[in-house]
Amino acid sequence: MVEFRVDRASGLPAYLQLGRQVREALRLGWLQPGDRLPTVRDVVATSGVNANTVLKAYRELELAGLVEARQGSGTYVKSSLGSAAPEALDDLRAKFAAWVREARSAGLEDEDIDALVRAVLSGGSDDGAG
């Protein structure tokens, strides 16, 4: 079960925030295929977001193929996120940790590492506006 939190002062539309939180939960394994997402009414009552916002978020997730709405019973997780298998993920994580150690020993602060990662990420994709 996920509990949604909306940062009202954020520039990110609330429905995108909800979608992002579901994706995160999928990535981290908190949500598994077959799990049911909370009903719209529940999200409204617990998180204080507009029903339309929740519907929009669920629709967006549905379009992305992550969840499916089953008639009359709710919205269910269809597939998990993360293209890599768990073993591959562990391997990558170990490699990245080694790289971070190397960077630190080379005198980089966390902020520098962060900037470097971002630069590499943005160089690798076309997505300029965050």
């Binding site: 009202r8 719209v40 977001v49 029903a51 965050g130």
Partner: protein, 265 residues
């Protein structure tokens, strides 16, 4: 459309036009004296517009900012009043609202705290199961915790009953995820009317070297120029892609509202 306002002028209001579909939550934002209260009073039927046309489908309930209530009535009397004076009355709903917020039922309203009186007003309004609920600064008497609970409960009411909620507020920082529609009034004129998500998607702050124009297409809401730097808050048509040396940053609802108000000031 549940609410239709066409070319309405009254007091400070000038030629206001907008429509609200049923079931949504709309925030009415503007500086003091912008005409929010006048607009709500016209919609509630307590004021008659000087010109223009107002149509509201269904039954309206209106809670004024000062939450007026008969001082000698107890909350129980208010519920009886609601039951007697309305064709539709949901005693359970009204009662459970008072119960949830621990309003003493047998104390005269004149002796209740401002927050408790606000809850009595909400209970009366919700008990009549309106199709359109108009709230003028509904949260102004409430503490931060109660504000969140009331917002949550009101949104749940909207989700359960499909009523249309239009409320005025100063606190733009609390709008995100709550209002799906934003009406921004300035000096009686409606300067922004749109879906909050779309508005957030359209508006972007672009910073870069000093320039007269931003590098993207759209309406410049606000521009600030410094010696070597210019900052534009732009309402874009379509995707805003800023290329080097420009950088784009999404704006919050509050920044968006403030920018529009500053722009017309």
């Amino acid at each position: 459309m549940t609410v239709r306002v066409a070319g309405v002028s009254k007091r400070v209001l000038r030629n206001c036009t907008f429509e609200l579909p049923g079931g949504g939550v709309t925030a009415l934002v503007g500086a003091n004296g912008a005409g929010k209260t006048t607009l709500l009073n016209v919609l509630a039927g307590h004021l008659t517009a000087d010109s223009g046309h107002v149509a509201v489908a269904g039954r309206v309930a209106f809670v004024a900012q000062d939450k007026p209530m008969y001082k000698g009535f107890t909350p129980l009397d208010v519920l009886r009043f609601g039951g007697h004076m309305n064709k539709v009355w949901d005693e359970y709903k009204a009662h459970s609202w008072l119960h949830r917020y621990k309003v003493p039922l047998k104390r005269r309203c004149g002796e209740l705290s401002a927050g408790q009186r606000a809850h009595v007003a909400f209970a009366l309004a919700l008990g009549s199961r309106p199709d359109v609920l108009l709230l003028d600064e509904p949260l102004s008497e409430l503490d931060p915790l109660a504000r969140r609970r009331v917002v949550r409960d009101l949104l749940a009411e909207v989700a359960d009953t499909g009523m249309t909620l239009l409320y005025s507020t100063h606190v733009v920082a609390e709008l995100g995820g709550v209002a799906d529609r934003l009406l921004l009034l300035s000096n009686g004129k409606l300067i922004v009317d749109g879906d909050t998500d779309e508005l957030l998607g359209q508006h972007v702050e672009i910073t870069g070297p000093a320039a007269d124009q931003p590098p993207v297409r759209g309406d410049v809401v606000l521009a600030r120029h410094y010696d070597r730097q210019s900052t534009f808050l732009v309402r874009c048509q379509g995707e805003a892609v800023a290329e080097e040396p420009w950088s784009a940053r999404p704006v919050t609802l509050e920044e968006l509202v403030v920018a529009h108000l500053e722009a017309v000031a």
